[in-house]
Structures are given as structure tokens and as C-alpha cells.
């Protein structure tokens, strides 16, 4: 398990940033949404997760963020475990870079957290909100994300980020 502080992540990410030329593409790679008929007689509990894959392309660095959220009724049990709505969206960011093969794996992972996730997150927020609203349920707007977001904090050490969670792919995009 490799745990890093925010400062250590900054140093690592800079190693990747030095290679960037400034060109960026963000796109939706995959999206799905399912929903039951909306109801207003109970509150929903929302849970979700985010996974990050990062990799080198022929001429850049790529980050794939998979966002999954679902909303369940407060007393969901074995008889009705299904989510009232669930959304999954895969967003891909491609940064043009010089000599991407010179960026180390840990630098890539830090880049995915410090830059990749922060870039993709607003698109994920917008996608989740639009999909939920279009289905008839009350809108859900994820918080604006910061680098000190709770979702990054390791349960073993809240002051550090578990960088191993970021997967380096041999081929991405």
C-alpha cells in the first residue's frame, strides 16, 4: 500500500505536468442510467464510487474516470434491494504530452488525482444531475470537488491518499 500526502502528490504530479503541451480533450466514453418511476414519499440515500485508470497514449497521457452512483430507499431490504435510480458514466481525458513514456507510473497516478480527476469531475456532476432530473427524480448535485476531498482520504490514514487505487493501464485511449 502506497500512501502519499498532498505535498508528495504535488511533487509527483509536477513530473507529469512538465510534459504537457496544453492540448486537452474530454469526452464521454460510456454512460448508462436506469430509474424506477419517481416517488416523493421517502428520502433516498445516495452511494457511489469513483475509479481512476491512467495510461500513456502514443502522444499523451490519458485518464479514464468511472463514476457510479445509485440511490436507494431508506429501508431497502432483501425484498426490495434495487436502487431507485443508478447512473454510471465513464469520462475520458486525453492530455497531449511530449515523451509520455518518460512519465513514471507514480507520476501518472498522482497526475490522475491532482489533474485528471479534477478535470473530469465537473462533467460527471453535470451528467449525473441531468440524468437524474430527466428521469423525474429530484436533482442531485455532487459537491464541488477539492484536492482535499473526503473521497480521496485513505481509511488507514486520513491525511494521505492511497495511490495504489489508481490503476495504470498499458493502453488507454
Amino acid at each position: 500500500m502506497s500512501l502519499y500526502t498532498q505535498d508528495e502528490l504535488d511533487d509527483l504530479a509536477r513530473g507529469a505536468l512538465e510534459h504537457l503541451t496544453g492540448q486537452l480533450v474530454v469526452r464521454t466514453a460510456e454512460a448508462s442510467f436506469t430509474s424506477r418511476f419517481p416517488r416523493s414519499d421517502f428520502e433516498l440515500e445516495v452511494k457511489g464510487n469513483l475509479s481512476l485508470d491512467v495510461g500513456r497514449t502514443r502522444d499523451g497521457l490519458g485518464v479514464l474516470g468511472t463514476f457510479k452512483l445509485s440511490a436507494v430507499a431508506p429501508e431497502a431490504d432483501e425484498s426490495d434491494p434495487d436502487a431507485q435510480w443508478s447512473v454510471e458514466v465513464k469520462l475520458q481525458g486525453l492530455w497531449h504530452a511530449r515523451e509520455p513514456e518518460a512519465v513514471t507510473d507514480d507520476q501518472l497516478r498522482a497526475f490522475a488525482v491532482k489533474v485528471g480527476m479534477m478535470t473530469l469531475f465537473p462533467y460527471a456532476r453535470a451528467h449525473v444531475q441531468a440524468a437524474v432530473v430527466a428521469s423525474g427524480w429530484a436533482p442531485l448535485t455532487l459537491d464541488v470537488l477539492t484536492n482535499n476531498a473526503e473521497l480521496l482520504r485513505s481509511p488507514d490514514d486520513p491525511e494521505r491518499v492511497e495511490l495504489d487505487l489508481i490503476t495504470v493501464q498499458a493502453s488507454l485511449g
Partner: protein
């Protein structure tokens, strides 16, 4: 009815006006055809220009009851007015929404808002 038409009291009244104009002009057109009379001939009988007959029948000019009566008279017809009860018919157009949809106006909400995400390892790993 096309889905873009918003039913308000004003729009329904406007629609009723336009329908009345259309029925009146179509009535005159039908009478012209039955009598095999041209618009030019009708204009001559009325002592007006042909273009005015055309404009009346196209709805560009306000077709009054008097002018409608005069046109039909020149074609050998007498105008008779009748009404159709649409009050009960209009009520049948009301759409009953399921209670579940009406309930959406209050809106459901969430026990936890904001960031409900956890960072995990991807399935591809």
C-alpha cells in the same frame, strides 16, 4: 392537437376565432363551386375587386357577418347560423394524471447530498 399548442384561455379563444373564420371561408368556397361561379364573377356581382374576394376567402380580410351574408346572397344562398356545444366536449380533453406524477411536484430529496463517492480500485485492475 399538436403538442406545441399550449392551452390557455386566450389561446383557446384565438383558436375558436380562427376556426370560425375558416368555416366561413370554406362555406363560401363550397358555394362558389356548387354554383360554378368564379371569384371574378362574384366580385362583379358584389361590385368589388377580385383581389378583395380572394383576400376575404384567405382570411386576410376580416369577414364580417354582413359581408358573409352578402356573398352567399349573391350565390343564391341564405346564411343560417348554428352552434355546437363544446363545453362538455372540452371537459373530456382534461387529462387525468396519475397521483404518482402529481406527487412529483413536492419533489423527493436525499438523506445525504454533495459528494457521496468513494475512491476505489477499478474493475480493470
Amino acid at each position: 392537437m399538436s403538442s406545441w399548442f399550449r392551452e390557455t384561455p386566450q389561446s383557446l379563444r384565438f383558436l375558436a376565432e380562427e376556426r370560425a373564420v375558416l368555416e366561413a371561408t370554406e362555406l363560401v368556397a363550397e358555394c362558389l363551386e356548387r354554383r360554378d361561379v368564379t371569384r371574378t364573377a362574384l366580385a362583379e356581382r358584389l361590385g368589388i375587386g377580385r383581389s378583395e374576394v380572394t383576400q376575404r376567402l384567405s382570411g386576410k380580410r376580416n369577414l364580417t357577418i354582413k359581408t358573409l351574408g352578402a356573398m352567399l346572397h349573391e350565390l343564391g344562398y341564405r346564411l343560417r347560423l348554428d352552434v355546437e356545444d363544446v363545453a362538455t366536449e372540452r371537459k373530456s380533453h382534461d387529462v387525468a394524471f396519475p397521483a404518482a406524477i402529481l406527487g412529483l411536484q413536492a419533489g423527493s430529496h436525499y438523506t445525504n447530498t454533495g459528494t457521496a463517492l468513494r475512491l476505489i480500485k477499478s474493475d480493470a485492475a
